[in-house]
Every structure is written in structure tokens, then in C-alpha cells.
Amino acid sequence: MPSPSTMTELLYEPTFDSESSKILCQAHSSEICRKCNVDWSEHNALAESLKPSNGELPPPNAPNLPRNAQVNRLREEGNKNFKSGNFPEAIKFYSMALEVSSSRPLWEPLAFQFIKEELSPVLSNRAAAYMGMKNFVDALVDAEAVTKLKREWSKGWFRKGKALAGLGRTEEALDALNIGLGFDPDSEELKKAVEEIKS
């Protein structure tokens, strides 16, 4: 009888499928195999993103500038529409910016910084646009993501508070606004929002 360690080795036996360019379990030719207790899906996704450069990584301090420029252009377009009051169009551009920004491969240099700095204003503005259309559920989801991406930014808490107030959940709204005031005690818009809800 094989010992447990040799058994796991047997189960781990992978095979490279040249057709799909994926690693699969040898016994059942599947990516995620419950019988073999293996999951190659995350590995295969990462390998796929490294395939064009044959696994070569760019240096970790060299950002992908074209992508940043593209995201910024879409964001500006959204802002323009937002200012002119065309909320559906603004939401469309903000969503495209989100799409481009979050399609970065995991290993892209400094991606986490760019995502934080780009997506917090994009999502915050999209939340404002949704609120302009009285769609408070989508606004709440966006605002919540902003508070998670950039916790210390009081604007995210302001949007979340506003969205919750729009949904009629005043207690939760006050909680969110107070957290925002914890990060930025001098914020005028937060103070005003608290007073509006309390009155």
C-alpha cells in the first residue's frame, strides 16, 4: 500500500495539453479535478497572460503607460458627460474605464497603485451619476467599492452615506458618514450630509 505522501505525488501528476496550452491533471484531463484534488485554473490563467512574452516579466517599476492614458481618456470623457447632465452616457464611459483598468494582468508593474488611484474617482463619479438617475442600489455598490479601494478617502464614505440615505436606510447612512468624518473631520460636505439626514 502506498504511503500518503506518494499518493499525493501521484495525484499531482500534471500533464501539458498542447492543444489548449493548459496544465491538466493526467488522470482525468481536467483543469479543476475534484478526484485528484487539484486546481490548475489560476495557474493556467497566469501562464496565459505570460505567454506573449514567453514568461518574461517587465521590471517591477516600469508601468504600462498606454493603458494608463487610455483609462484617463475614458474617465475625462465620462466627466464631460457627467457635467453636462448626461448621466447614462457618463456611466457608459466610467464603466469602460473600469473595464480597461481592471483588465490589467496580475503581474503588471505598479498595477495596484494605478487601480487605486484611477478607479476610486471613476467609481465615485459613477456612483454620483447613478444617484443622479435615482438608481441608489448601483450607487451604493460603487460607493462601497470605493471605500474598500481607498478607505482613507472621505469622498467614498460621503457617496455611500448619500446612497444609503436614498434607500431610506438612515442609520447605516449616518454610520458611513461618521466613518468618513473620522478620516476627514473638517469635510464640509460630510457635515452637511449628516445635518440633512438628521433634520
Binding site: E9, E13, P14, I23, L46, L140, V141, L149, L167
Partner: protein, 260 residues
Amino acid sequence: MRARLFDVTVASQIRAQSGGQSGIDTFYDKGDWQFSEHFKSIHFTTYLMATSLLLPASYLGGCIAAMSAFSYVYRRATATSEVEPWFGPNIEKEQYIALLNSTTTVPEHHLRAALLRRAVAGVKRLVHIQQEKPPLQQLLRTGSVGDDLSRQFNIAEQETMAELQEIVAEANTYKEGWGQTIFTTAAQMVEHEKQKVILDEMKTRKEEEERLAKLNAEREERDGKDRQEREAEKRERESQRAADELLKQEEVEKKSKTKK
């Protein structure tokens, strides 16, 4: 008793021979007594030693035997129990090694991706170790946790460090100098992964919030309906009462008319 009698008779004989000198007489007498008592007590102690030492000696021996038996069993039991690992199995490492040892040829970008994932796992472990070290040391100093835990922790720390060194060496086999940057990339990936989770969660959050908003709307609608129904009932009851009163009044009027 017989010894004493014998002693007395010997003493009296001596006394008779010596012509009744009182000083010597008393001396002998005393000396004999002491001698015989001493003689008797030797017998007594040997008897005592023989019987009473047996009991404590056997007690002590029993204790030692029991203790050594316990110590033997206990040591054997604890020696075989392994140190509970601080981390679970390192799946990324196993996957990388599995790919290296695969019987089929695996293209290089797959091996590099697997090594990168192994580096990400290593960075996550390092972060754990660094975060847990100060509070664990604090707990050890105050005596809140035992030595076992600190031993496990030290083993985990050493293993993690060895794993990181191994990754650096592996990375340099693909490209000279990759070992110097692989952990910077891996640390950025850890942060990036957290953001991906937040963005992915937005979809499920939206579903949850929509369901909640729908429930709230339904409840309000139901409350509104209830209120309307209640008001309608109330109005009906009031109109009924008003009609009854009207009838009564009419009857009273009729009665008063017939009386007249």
C-alpha cells in the same frame, strides 16, 4: 527477665566475696544493669530494622518504578507526535515541483508562471510571519502561550526563509537577476489580487442589495395596503353605525307619533 536475674545473682555473689563494700557494690550493680539493657536494645533494633525498613523501602521502590514507567511511556508518546505545522500545505510549491518533474514537456512560460505563483505564496507567508511575530513574543513574555507554540513558530519562520531563498535560486536559473525582482513583482501581485477580489465582489453585492431593496419595497407596499384596508374597514363600520343610529331615531320618532 532471666538475664536480669542472672545479673543480680552474679552481683550478690561478688558482693559476698568482696565483703560488702558499698561503693563497688553499687558500681557493679549499675554497670550490669546498663550492660544488660544495652544488650537487649541491640536485639530490639535489629528486629525493628528487619521489619519496619521493609515497608518504606518497598513503598519508595514502587514509587520509583511507577514514575520511571510513566516517564518512559510519556516520552515515547510525545516523541512521536509531530509539530503541528503553522501553515497548511504549500500548494504553489508542490505545483511548481510537479511541473518540473512532469513526464511531458512543459513550456517555459508555464514554469515561470508556476514559480511566480510560488513567490506570491512565499510573500504571503512572510507577511504572516512578520505580522504575527511581535504579538507572539509579547504573549510568550507574559506567559500566555507555551513553548510549543513558539517552537512551531520558529520552525515556520525558518521554513519560510529557506523557501524564499530557494525561490531566488530557482528564479536565477531562468534569467540572471530575476531573483532580485521576483519578490517585488510578487508583493505587487498580492495587493493587486486584493483589489480584484473587491471588484469581483461588486457583482454579488449588487445582487444582495437588489434583493434587499426589493424586499423593503414589498414590505412598504404591504404596509401601505394594510393601512388602506384598515381605513376602508373603519369607514364602513362608521357608516354602518351612522345608519343604525338613523334607524333607531326613526323608530323613536314613529313611536312618539303613534303615542300621539
